[in-house]
Symmetry: C2
Subunit: 364 residues, 2 copies
């Protein structure tokens, strides 16, 4: 291979320019080590988990709020020293486009509002972190992904467990083959829901019941542990309090098969406490977490003894991880596609309940 002098010179010049540019970028990245978050929706999750977590983050900073409740503005502004220019309501939210002090909007609204505020946030030029479930439907997820793509913004879903060390250990151990090929997973998450008037029991706001809200953790565990996408599901729903659960599902059990042959059996419920776990069974060993999905106190057992790591603030880890993705221009491991895949499986479960048939999970 021969290169002309012109080509050599040209390419050297290009290389030099490119090197200089990337060095400049690197300096800029070095300078910027923190990403500014605005919380959209100041309910109990934001109040009790996410805002406190933002006091522990290294790369994420609570800089703004978006709330539909005017009286919360002063309380939060005082408590977290939020500047007046970083406070929005649901009507003037789009003006956030002009605010360079906000990099990310974290959507912590009822599920039915996720799509609207993700799209508006992306159109305003903000990166978006959205609570799970990502949206009420896979179609909404696709719109959200498209909006972020069009605006060249990053999108992530609040799958905090994927940053939790017990969960990470379990995935690593399963995928290392330490316990041989995986054969089965049992997973479930439920709790006895209180207030009958809350948004979680309204179909338009919640998109569904226990399955959408907490069953998604069991589904996530199966997908996260295996790194596989489910092939088909079967499911049954029971409702012992049809008045309270008039609009959403109360208790669902389902089976779910993976391409490798892993056979999962799962449950979710709003009717009782006690199931908050997964167990994975390989040909030569097993492991599991119980409780698996709590904010704190994750505990594990395996064939070889207890699984023990320090408890972390999962929300802080999740937000720091997304902040680093932004700082380093990488796609999040809990991207919009990840949220979409859960919704596709959830839709297959609901469809199976309706049709009484084994239902293929659609591809993302």
């Amino acid at each position: 291979m021969t290169l002309s002098r012109r080509t050599m010179l040209g390419s050297t010049a290009a290389l030099t320019a490119s090197t200089l540019l990337s060095q400049a970028n690197a300096r800029a990245a070095d300078e910027k080590t923190t990403v500014n978050f605005a919380l959209v929706g100041l309910g109990s999750l934001s109040t009790n988990q996410i805002a406190p977590a933002l006091q522990k983050t290294k790369h994420a900073k609570l800089a703004g709020i978006v709330t539909g409740t005017p009286e919360k503005e002063k309380i939060w502004a005082d408590k977290y020293s939020i500047k007046p220019e970083n406070i929005y309501n649901y009507e003037n939210f789009d003006k956030i486009a002009a605010n360079d002090n906000i990099d990310v909007v974290y959507i912590v609204l009822p599920n039915g509002m996720h799509k609207e505020f993700t799209v508006r946030g992306a159109n305003a030029g903000k990166h978006v972190l959205c609570e799970k479930p990502m949206a009420n439907s896979s179609a909404d997820c696709r719109e959200m992904i498209a909006a972020c793509k069009q605006n060249n913004r990053k999108l992530a879903v609040g799958y905090r467990c994927q940053f939790e060390p017990h969960h990470l250990y379990c995935r690593e151990t399963v995928q290392s083959g330490k316990y041989g090929p995986l054969h089965a997973i049992e997973a479930g998450f439920g709790f006895k829901i209180g207030d009958p008037n809350q948004w979680r029991l309204k179909a338009d706001l919640a998109g569904g019941g226990a399955l959408m809200d907490v069953g998604i953790y069991a589904l996530q565990a199966c997908r996260f542990l295996t790194g596989e996408e489910p092939v088909a599901v079967t499911a049954q729903e029971t409702k012992m309090n049809p008045k309270k659960f008039a609009e959403v599902d109360e208790t669902i059990t389902w089976t779910m098969t993976m391409p490798s042959g892993v056979n999962c059996y799962c449950s979710t419920s709003y009717a009782f406490n006690g199931i908050n776990r997964f167990n994975a069974y390989g040909q030569s060993g097993w492991l599991g977490l119980d409780p698996a999905y709590s904010y704190k106190g994750i505990k594990g057992e395996s064939k070889d003894g207890p699984i023990q790591f320090d408890q972390i603030d999962q929300f802080a880890a999740e937000m720091d991880a997304f902040a680093k993705c932004i700082l380093e221009d990488r796609q999040s491991s809990v991207s919009g596609e990840e949220g979409l895949r859960d919704l596709l499986a959830i839709e297959a479960i609901y469809e199976s309940i309706q049709s009484g048939k084994r239902t293929q999970v659609q591809k993302a």
Copy 2:
């Protein structure tokens, strides 16, 4: 109403005769406190569990054997002092009809032989205790029930767990409503099967794989705890070693709903160890056993702490219970109908796997 003197006298005479007869029967029953068992099939279960258990029973005595392996005759005769006239093979088994020293035949053969030997035993005038699963099909179960009925003989299935104190405590606690209405049960039983040439892997002898052999324990637990018969099932099967499991199922997960709304999710497998349990969840509490189905070492936990009872010999309890049913002329709580109901649910699970549809469980 007037009665003629003749009628009065006649009826008094009949009453007197009947009273005398029943008193005589009562005396005979008082005298007879032991029921003589012949074990049909001297494989590992008979050798390692049932014969030793018969050394501990109060009302059941090992009096005879039926074996297809001539060399076992002397070994067993020597070990258990079995009289030559109480030893049969599969060909001359029917001659047991003339042997008043045998009251019960306990069928411990491969599943596919249960029907034949139950029917032959009943036709020979013997009560029948049959290992689980009762038969390869519900049709076979019905034939077995009919044969015992026609011969006025009792029929029971070897559901040893139904006599185990931890299981009994769990059923009593669930049904007492202590933990409120029951909402869900998770149950599973499996193990990694060894020898690829054993009868359990042959369809004609085993009738099915893990589901027939050990999944039935999980199914039993759901039925026993609730006292209900399943309405409908959904199920999926996976097979990661299609060569070894060419004829029978390897791993199955299923969902199962009860008339009250209890929603069950279950598993069974021949591919791995680790699942041997049930957990039942009420509105205000939960309980479970793990291991639940082992011969020894049953352990339980509940919302209120450990569930602890003395370990018993479950086979001895099962045989003593059947012996007492015979001595007291009562139907067994683990009757042929109980075995039939499990087969109906198992058939629904297999049908659901084949059809991909939620499948109603047929009524007994």
